[in-house]
Amino acid sequence: MDDAIDFTRLERSGPPGDLWPAIAGELDRRRRHRLVRRVSALAAMVTVVVLASVFVQMPAPTPAPGEASSSPEPWTLAELRAASSRLESRLADHRQRPVGGLELESLLWLEAELAWLDEQLADSPADRDLWRQRVELLAELNRRYADGDWRREMLLASV
């Protein structure tokens, strides 16, 4: 260090007065930028959580009257009658087709059930519960006839 240059005699100037405001401004700018980034990340997270909860809580697609449903639907009497009529016309098509021996017994049982329901409805034509049962029964009959068709086609294809 003996050879060191003595710089202590050099004048030491101070920084310009506008340097601190510039530093403070840059710190503020970075703070705002960080805040925006955090808010954006939070918003994205909230969006994901909300969408996830919406999907989790979203009710299953409402089945049309007559389709299998685990909970009673608040159908009006007119809607139940319309659904019943629609299912009955579809059932009429199925009834024209041959039925396999395997399905016959269950179909006959369901047809007897339908006849019994129709008798009840004749006495109480405005009973919504009876109409709902009729719609469910017609839907079940249609499904059984359709299943029978599918099995028959499979049997024919395997021959």
């Binding site: 050879d3 060191a4 240059i5 003595d6 710089f7 005699r9 050099l10 004048e11 030491r12 100037s13 101070g14 920084p15 310009p16 340097l19 601190w20 510039a22 530093i23 403070a24 840059e26 710190l27 970075r30 703070r31």
Partner: protein, 180 residues
């Protein structure tokens, strides 16, 4: 006040909370030595301005990395020197900036030293200032410059020799003007 002066633990804790008043107080404490260092190393006030601004911003932003309050000054100095050296590396391929130098008509040892120092190559200026004025070790200078210790030593020796030659030439010239 120098860059080796410490801050206390309370100030460090306040800086970590990003307290603006403490930031300003710490800036006031270190701005003069930081400014001197930046001007001496870069040889240009405009570049010193950028380097000091960036150094304080980085120091306050990264204050969470600092464990000991007494090391704040050394830490800030390291960040500042890095900033100046980064500037130098970025501008290495560009046209050298013409330093604003006044006309030194009067003979004055301080002015001679100022002029001789300003005329040094930027790297020579950085090494000699960091070693002789800031008291940094060769290992530290070499690390900051991304060079070896022997590079720092030879650069320092050469810088000192150039300075002394210029100072001697200046004194001889002044004497001849006085007698002639």
């Amino acid at each position: 006040m120098s860059l080796s002066s410490p801050i206390d633990d309370l100030a460090l804790a306040a800086l970590k909370r990003r307290c603006r008043r403490t930031q300003e107080r710490v800036y006031r404490q270190y701005s003069q030595p930081a400014w001197t260092l930046a001007v001496r190393l870069s040889g240009c006030e405009a570049r010193a301005w950028d380097a000091v601004q960036q150094a304080f911003v980085l120091a306050f932003e990264r204050i969470g990395q600092l464990r000991k309050a007494e090391q704040f000054g050394f830490w800030l100095r390291r960040i500042l020197v890095n900033q100046v050296m980064d500037q130098h590396r970025r501008q290495a391929g560009e046209q050298p900036e013409i330093a604003e130098r006044g006309e030194f008509r009067d003979h004055d040892t301080a002015l001679d030293l100022e002029r001789a120092f300003d005329e040094l190559d930027e790297l020579d200026r950085q090494v000699v200032w960091l070693h002789d004025a800031e008291g940094m070790k060769h290992a530290e200078i070499a690390e900051l410059a991304g060079q070896t210790v022997s590079w720092s030593k030879s650069r320092l020796a050469r810088a000192r020799e150039k300075l002394r030659n210029r100072l001697t030439a200046g004194e001889a010239s002044a004497r001849s003007m006085e007698h002639g």
